[in-house]
């Protein structure tokens, strides 16, 4: 059952000539974890904003086609209705932190306050969400005193606490070390298994291959490929168009031309590469 459905979506930002998204058709099923890859400028963030309703409600501009989430249509809904179903974590957490709150705990409670959740329930939900993302020890810190990686966790937590049906994440681990990245991908996978739908723009190919159900490759505002992570991430097309690919894929492709990789399928992950190279 599709919970996100984009049909023939084309979008231009105000005062620009060329569309940021062109004729996008994308259906995402409930509980699916979809990663969106592409070079900078491909339209990854714009796609995130579109699903999250910021396009066109906040950014204005010209949107044609239809955007449906959980049965509602974006053009006829208001942003404050929309955010009850869809949560967006911005690429730069600094753009998301409210500036109105002194502590991380209050920052995470901010969204719940705005939709009138009772105080007792609010406290429980904030504490649970902080535990889930491993930031309970930051509760009393100022959001501005944190490192980039910690701010990204706070931004993610303040979305998760709203329990949206659809979670949209724009490069949520870009400022994190590997342990942070691993934990965040783990949390997101868990949320998907509990039935939350996830759309995530991301460059980290090896992590996507290990965690996502499906990969959409965007290029110049269009969907170039859409399929299983393994198939999309090893496609020759990505190489020519400036996409990031895993070192395992890249070295196996070179090895193949020298007869040192004999399988048809190129690897994306360590496991696949180790198995394939053991053949030779």
């Amino acid at each position: 059952m599709a919970i996100v459905n984009l049909e023939n979506v084309t979008y231009k930002y105000p005062l620009t000539d060329s569309p940021a998204l062109q004729n996008i058709n994308l259906r995402v099923d409930e509980g699916e974890f979809v990663a969106v890859v592409g070079p900078n400028g491909a339209g990854k963030s714009t796609l995130c904003y579109t699903i999250a309703g910021f396009v066109p409600h906040f950014f204005k501009g010209e949107l044609t086609g239809t955007v449906e989430v959980a049965g509602a249509e974006s053009s006829t809904s208001s942003l404050h209705e929309w955010v009850l179903n869809v949560g967006l974590a911005f690429q730069n957490p600094f753009n998301q932190i409210s500036g109105a709150k002194y502590t991380v705990f209050e920052e995470i409670a901010f969204g719940l306050e705005n939709i009138g959740v009772p105080r007792d329930e609010m406290k429980v939900r904030v504490e649970e969400a902080m535990k889930l993302t491993g930031i309970s020890d930051l509760a009393d810190r100022s959001p501005y005193s944190l490192s980039g990686g910690q701010q990204q966790r706070v931004a993610l937590t303040s979305i998760l606490v709203m329990q949206p049906k659809v979670l949209v994440l724009d490069e949520p681990t870009s400022q994190m070390d590997p342990i942070g990245t691993r934990e965040v991908f783990g949390v997101i996978r868990t949320m998907a298994e509990r039935g939350m739908t996830v759309v995530m723009a991301e460059h980290k190919v090896e992590w996507i291959a290990n965690f996502a159900d499906r990969v959409v490759a965007l290029h110049e505002g269009r969907i170039l490929l859409d399929g299983k992570p393994r198939e999309v991430l090893t496609s020759d097309i990505l190489l020519d168009k400036g996409f990031g690919i895993s070192r395992y894929t890249s070295v196996a492709r070179k090895a193949k031309t020298r007869g040192l990789w004999t399988r048809q399928q190129l690897p994306v992950t360590l496991e696949e590469a180790a198995e394939g190279f053991q053949d030779v």
């Binding site: 900078n40 690429q91 070390d177 400036g242 996409f243 395992y248 070295v251 070179k254 180790a274 190279f277």
Partner: protein
């Protein structure tokens, strides 16, 4: 120009002990990658090189200058610093003014400024964007403007703080190319990075930090092969290093060429 650090300790005003006894020497023309978990002290360390931070105890010298005796403005003629977030450093109305700001402040002649600016713009592939307001550029190109504005100062030492964060494959290749050019010109390049594959491919010497101390310091192959020790500072070895270990190669490998050579032999 040598960087010499002896028994450096630094404690932030809130009591956090960020550096707990660092001693090391970086020779002129060395290319050094610094890795380690968030909070290991990497940024705190390099901010001592241009005087943004002063030792709580111990000493940092840049060439013959003790950083405690020179201002940040003065040290800027020896050490260039590219911030992680370009938006923390850009403020001019167009790219060429932004890039000329640094060399102008160092008091170079106008011909010298012009030539350094042109060269920095060429190295960062910005020559066709000189009239653009930096904030009208994509974040990717703003990063290149930040890099150009530091390179234009033509300092013997250049520091990059997380240069590849949020960058795509094409721009990471562009940044690697800038670092290669600086190496060819004999500049010292010190780079903090979480991107361990980028580190493996671009730096000959690697320093791993943990909890304000140096955990490992040596050639890239020596350091990046120590999976167990790196794990204590939450660093995973590069992808090809891990694959080589899994395939029981005798030697540590980190680049595609090394991997393919080991696979054959």
């Amino acid at each position: 120009m040598n960087i010499t650090i002896s028994n450096l300790h630094f404690t932030y005003p809130n009591g956090v002990q960020a550096l707990r006894g660092i001693s090391l020497t970086i020779e002129p023309g060395e290319q050094v990658g610094i890795v380690g978990q968030n909070g290991a002290g990497k940024t705190t360390l390099v901010r001592h090189f241009n005087g943004l931070l002063q030792p709580t105890s111990g000493m940092v010298t840049i060439g013959d200058w003790d950083t405690r005796k020179y201002s940040v403005a003065k040290l800027a003629s020896r050490v260039g610093y590219v911030f992680q977030n370009p938006d923390e450093q850009l403020f001019s109305r167009d790219v060429k003014t932004e890039v000329a700001f640094g060399p102008r402040n160092l008091g170079y002649s106008s011909e010298q400024i012009q030539s350094q600016v042109n060269e920095a713009l060429a190295m960062t592939e910005l020559s066709d964007k000189t009239e653009t307001n930096p904030y009208d550029l994509s974040p990717t190109w703003r990063k290149m403007v930040a890099i150009a504005s530091v390179i234009a100062m033509d300092t013997p030492i250049v520091i990059f703080d997380e240069p590849t964060t949020g960058q795509d494959a094409a721009n990471i290749a562009r940044i690697a190319n800038v670092i290669k050019t600086l190496r060819e010109r004999g500049r010292t390049v010190i780079t903090i990075t979480h991107d361990i594959d980028f580190c493996a491919e671009n730096f000959e010497r690697v320093i791993a930090m943990s909890q304000g101390r140096i955990l490992l310091d040596g050639s890239a192959n020596e350091v990046l092969g120590q999976e167990d020790i790196l794990a204590t500072t939450y660093v995973d070895p590069p992808q090809l290093t891990r694959l080589g270990k899994r395939l029981r190669f005798k030697k540590t490998v980190r680049t595609e060429e090394e991997f393919l050579a080991a696979l054959r032999g």
